[in-house]
């Protein structure tokens, strides 16, 4: 495989992986926010009950 083609393949691969990583990060970020909201909700529920 010539050098230019290999470089492009490498670049494309890591580009695709980073794109997937951003999706992973987004899901985890939403999960973190949901957990923060849940901890407040638990206290509110106890206060109401």
């Amino acid at each position: 495989m010539d050098n230019g083609k290999q470089q492009k393949e490498t670049r494309d691969h890591w580009h695709a992986q980073r794109k997937k990583a951003r999706k992973t990060a987004l899901i985890l970020g939403v999960l973190a926010l949901a957990l923060a909201a849940w901890s407040v909700f638990v206290v509110l529920q106890k206060a109401a009950g």
């Binding site: 992986q17 997937k20 990583a21 951003r22 973190a32 901890s39 407040v40 106890k46």
Partner: protein, 530 residues
């Protein structure tokens, strides 16, 4: 797979360090920051031990003493131990899995640069009217809310630390899940990577809960809510439940990466593959799971139904099972190995022995009836310092010695390393072992003065503390000396250490594994096993 031998380091301080997105530079920033915080928190510990050297009030006011115990803990937990492990993760995880960098390099930069601001906020409270937070690192209301202006600063500092930790954890997970070299499966990963993957999930699960809890403290203090105010219908004990739902997994956030470090070092110097690799992974996951369901063992003395006490007692004791698996596996790895005792191995061995002592006292405290006697005594202080100092901090020091040749390109002085090891190991035991006896005799924690019956053991403990503090100043000298020069390190600094990090030159080039392709699994730390 090859690696780029060109060193395209950005020129100038701002570009190299402030704007960096390079995982190695960010790892270095985290490690330097963590060490600065370790020295700061350590200086506060010296003030505490100086005051406790003799009975009676000698040097500081009781309120300032309480500020020191609170700030020492907050700085050591959030400023020293956690950032040190994030630094190690940044440096090593991409190199261990064949990735060119962390998955989200810009977020990585942000994760780090939030931290100095968080600690500037927290540290600034020392100069305020009323001083720094003095209600303990657990921030229990109503005591913590009686602080002066520092409550808002404390809460915002914890928010910033939490945001930094969560972003760091997200980056670690995204990197491990998406950036491994193509033929590296999950069960080929080094144990340090595995322990960090599990730790990162713990961080994401519990840091937001802490953020929620401290936000409610803030609104109780400044916006008239009564989440934790009994007079307004709230419940201060509820805060303790929420805090320890964060706080117990937090203990494992600080210790699981230590297990990972020790699991890399022991096979190298025993010259044998890690015994029971898969069981180590399951044990780590088991400990992480159990960490979520044992929190109320910190609160036996608050009072709870008998069924609750029994449940939390037995659940806590179960943690000894996966932890025992790990200790057994480290010992079995060494069994009949061609062992040598370089400094990283010495610190790892001390970790195994001394962490186990801390583990045993932990099992003692899990017993609900006897915990009522230990609660809030120096026995507790001895227990958690055994797991955190010769536990987590010895693992960080072992990691620093182990990977310093890879980071700096130079070998440290083995003679100086061994002096540092014996100095630290003897002094840390003189410092913390007598505290077990103090606690059993009934000396309460977080007090600046005590009955004369506790004088001898406190004096011993303080002497150990000063010696341990000095040993860490000596460690700075060793590290600086190594970074500035010394014997050149080979790519595989330990001769036949396994792991992809040992396939790149020392010091590691600024960019590694730029080319995409399969790696030789035989060179991976645990690749041979499967």
């Amino acid at each position: 797979m090859g690696h780029d031998s060109h060193d395209h380091k950005p020129k100038g301080f701002v570009n190299r360090w402030l704007m960096t997105t390079n995982h190695k530079d960010i790892g270095t920033l985290y490690l330097v920051f963590a060490f600065a915080m370790f020295i700061t928190g350590g200086a506060m510990a010296m003030i505490i031990r100086l005051e406790l050297f003799q009975p009676g009030l000698q040097f500081v006011e009781p309120d300032f003493f309480n500020q020191m115990t609170t700030m020492h803990a907050l700085i050591m937990v959030f400023g020293a131990v956690m950032p040190a492990f994030v630094g190690l993760a940044n440096w090593m995880i991409p190199m261990m899995i064949g990735a060119p960098d962390m998955a989200l390099p810009r977020m990585n930069n942000w994760s780090f640069w939030i931290l100095p601001f968080a600690f500037a906020l927290l540290g600034s409270t020392l100069f305020m009217d009323g001083g720094a937070p003095a209600g303990g690192w657990t921030m229990y209301p109503p005591l913590v809310l009686q602080g002066g202006k520092n409550v808002a600063y404390l809460v915002f500092a914890v928010h910033l630390m939490g945001i930094s930790s969560i972003m760091g954890a997200i980056n670690v997970i995204a990197t491990i899940m998406n950036m491994r070299a193509p033929n590296v499966g999950y069960l080929n990963m080094p144990l340090f990577v595995w322990t960090w993957l599990i730790t990162a999930f713990l961080l994401i699960a519990v840091m937001p809960v802490l953020a929620g809890a401290v936000t409610m403290l803030l609104t109780d203090r400044y916006f008239g809510t009564s989440f934790f105010n009994a007079a307004g219908g709230g419940d201060p004990v509820l805060f303790q439940h929420i805090f320890w739902f964060f706080g117990h997994p937090e203990v494992y956030i600080m210790i699981l990466p230590s297990f990972g470090v020790v699991s890399e070092i022991i096979p190298t110097f025993a010259r044998k593959p890690l015994f029971g690799y898969v069981s180590m992974v399951y044990a780590t996951a088991g400990i992480a799971f159990l960490s979520f369901i044992v929190w109320a063992h910190h609160m036996f003395s608050v009072g709870m139904p008998l069924g609750g006490e029994l449940y939390f007692m037995y659940a806590t004791m179960m943690i000894a099972v996966p932890t025992g698996v790990k200790i057994f596996n480290w010992v079995a790895t060494m069994w009949k190995g061609a062992m040598t005792f370089e400094t990283p191995m010495l610190f790892s061995l001390a970790f195994v022995v001394l962490f186990t002592i801390g583990g045993f006292s932990g099992v003692m405290m899990a017993l609900a009836p006897v915990d009522l006697q230990y609660h809030d005594t120096y026995f507790i202080v001895a227990h958690f310092h055994y797991v955190l100092v010769p536990g987590a901090i010895f693992a960080i020091i072992a990691a620093a010695y182990y990977w310093l040749p890879k980071w700096s390109g130079h070998m440290y002085s083995e003679r100086l390393g061994k002096i540092h090891f014996w100095w630290s190991t003897i002094s840390v035991n003189v410092l913390f072992f007598p505290q077990h006896f103090l606690g059993l005799a009934g000396m309460p924690r977080r007090i600046p003065d005590y009955s004369t019956q506790f004088a001898e053991f406190n004096m011993m403990s303080s002497i150990g503390g000063f010696a341990f503090g000095l040993a860490q100043v000596f460690f700075i000298y060793i590290v600086v000396k190594t970074v500035r020069g010394g014997k050149k390190a080979e790519a595989n600094a330990w001769g036949d250490a396994k792991g992809l990090e040992w396939t790149v030159p020392s010091p590691a080039p600024h960019h590694t594994f730029d080319e995409f392709g399969p790696v030789d699994l035989k060179k991976m730390a645990h690749g041979e096993v499967h």
